[in-house]
């Protein structure tokens, strides 16, 4: 490791912007961005499944609150939601004295909450659409077999809905990755935060942002590759015959 560091240092010797220190900022930024996006996507996904089922419910008191939640979080900019959660909570009287403050004090958790709620709302709508598009025949067949509603959901509706939702969900993952760039407005040193720091320090917008754009491209490529693979595996039955 030490040898690698000194080698890198020699390589960067005549580069005034990309020193070990700034590369360190980018490195930490990469870790923060990946953590933030990954955690919010996983939690958002777990939340979205029951919400999507509830969204299709015939009972108004299940259906309506979920609709409102999705409507509000899809209808307002993520930046505004982030501001409200990070800066807004401090105006709740006495919040500093409760246990909540311990988790809301640092910017990471407020950002995670905003991102999670946002992606859960979008994912809910994606899944709802996919569930609604379940072919009538599959449901009738399940009923004919005497499956209960629950069993039918688990064995027939959800698995096929997930497959249909896969391409749209892949898009949502990429959108989320890019939307996470706003985390730096609440002082998080994510990838964009690192780039803004380097830009402000060296007055070098091209170097700072082109470098970070390249990192985002690599991340996006990884996500794309993963979803391509999943689609090839899970949607094989939809491929054109002989293809």
């Amino acid at each position: 490791m030490e040898a690698l560091t000194s080698q890198l240092e020699a390589l960067l010797a005549d580069n005034s912007i990309f020193t070990l220190q700034t590369l360190g900022y980018y490195g930490e930024g990469l870790v923060t961005t990946v953590q933030l996006v990954f955690l919010s996507l996983v939690i958002g996904l777990v939340m979205a499944i029951p919400l999507a089922i509830g969204r299709g419910s015939r009972h108004r008191w299940i259906n309506l609150p979920i609709f409102l939640y999705c409507y509000v979080f899809r209808g307002t900019p993520l930046l505004v939601q982030l501001y409200l959660i990070y800066y807004g909570v401090v105006f709740i009287e006495g919040i500093q004295d409760t246990w909540l403050w311990a988790i809301l004090e640092k910017p990471f958790v407020p950002a995670l909450i905003a991102f999670t709620l946002n992606t859960a709302a979008y994912t809910t709508e994606i899944f709802r659409g996919a569930i609604k598009a379940t072919p009538r025949g599959e449901i009738e067949a399940a009923r004919a077999y005497g499956m209960s509603h629950r069993l039918m959901l688990r064995r027939i509706v959800l698995p096929s809905a997930f497959r249909r939702a896969l391409p749209a969900y892949g898009n949502e993952v990429i959108f989320m990755l890019h939307a996470s760039a706003i985390a730096s407005v609440v002082t998080i040193m994510d990838l964009t935060g690192a780039a803004r720091f380097v830009y402000a320090r060296f007055y070098a917008p091209f170097d700072a942002f082109l470098f970070v754009a390249a990192i985002y491209l690599c991340l996006t490529f990884t996500v794309l590759f993963l979803f391509r693979y999943l689609e090839r595996r899970l949607l094989a039955h939809l491929k054109p015959a002989g293809g």
Binding site: V90, W101, K106, T187, Y199, R201
Partner: protein, 255 residues
């Protein structure tokens, strides 16, 4: 040096010198860009005032010439000097190399200080790596304060970088920040004056080292006006010695 000595002779001497001084240095016009509080701005009645204006007038009185202020937008302020719309600039202009190629600077007459501000109940004592260990400190992104705090304390403290000073003040109000590092005048007006008693200055005003905080503000002249610049440098030294400078400084920046 001779001029310098005669100047301190007193009232009668001053009238006498006024004759000699104006033989070397004529009445001048000074370009200024307003507003930039508290350095230069207008009173509600529309009169020019501020640290630069008061100090400039005192300097002119010291030399024994009349000075007229000419208001000029910032982006045209050096071209205006070259075009002889006025003979000097005194407008919070930071001395730097690029400008030095075009204009002649006086000695710096002020280096805007930076200072640490903290909630009144936070005990910091003297600032050092030990006292800031594990603290969360706020700076405005890309400012010289950011560079300084990052290099000095970035390894021991959490440095939170904000887009605007307002965001930072809000986070200090909410208790997220233990201390902020700001331009002193901005910190004074946003933290000390508006929330009286909630905040305090920790430690000394900081203007060193120069590679972070710059050389300070200087008056700018045309390159060929060496004598004029020299006259203002001498007058500035005199005002610093006789206490006039400190009076004006205290009026705008407190003690």
């Amino acid at each position: 040096m001779k001029l310098h000595k005669i100047l301190s002779l007193g009232a009668i001497g001053a009238t006498l010198v006024a004759g000699t001084a104006s033989a070397e240095v004529d009445d001048i016009r000074i370009g200024v860009d307003v507003p930039y509080e508290p350095m230069e701005y207008r009173t509600p009645a529309g009169e020019l005032t501020g640290f630069d204006i008061d100090l400039g007038n005192a300097l002119c009185a010291e030399i024994g010439i009349d000075c007229e202020w000419v208001v000029q937008g910032w982006d045209g302020i050096i071209p205006g000097l070259m075009a002889r719309k006025y003979d000097a600039i005194m407008s919070s202009m930071t001395i730097n190399e690029q400008r030095r190629e075009q204009v002649l600077f006086s000695e710096p007459y002020i280096t805007p200080p930076s200072a640490w501000f903290a909630p009144a109940d936070v005990e910091l004592g003297t600032l050092s790596e030990e006292t800031l260990e594990g603290m969360t400190i706020g700076v405005q992104r890309g400012t010289l304060q950011d560079n300084y705090a990052t290099d000095m304390y970035g390894d021991v403290a959490d440095v939170n970088r904000y887009a605007t000073a307002d965001d930072m003040v809000l986070d200090m109000d909410s208790g997220r920040l233990d201390a902020v590092f700001l331009d002193f005048p901005i910190g004074k007006s946003t933290l000390l004056d508006s929330d009286a008693g909630d905040y305090k200055v920790v430690g000394e005003m900081i203007t060193e080292p120069k590679e972070y905080f710059g050389e300070g503000f200087g008056m700018a002249f045309r390159q060929r006006d060496q004598e004029l610049a020299e006259a203002f440098n001498e007058a500035l030294a005199e005002l610093k010695e006789n206490g006039t400078y400190d009076e004006i400084h205290a009026e705008y920046f407190g003690n």
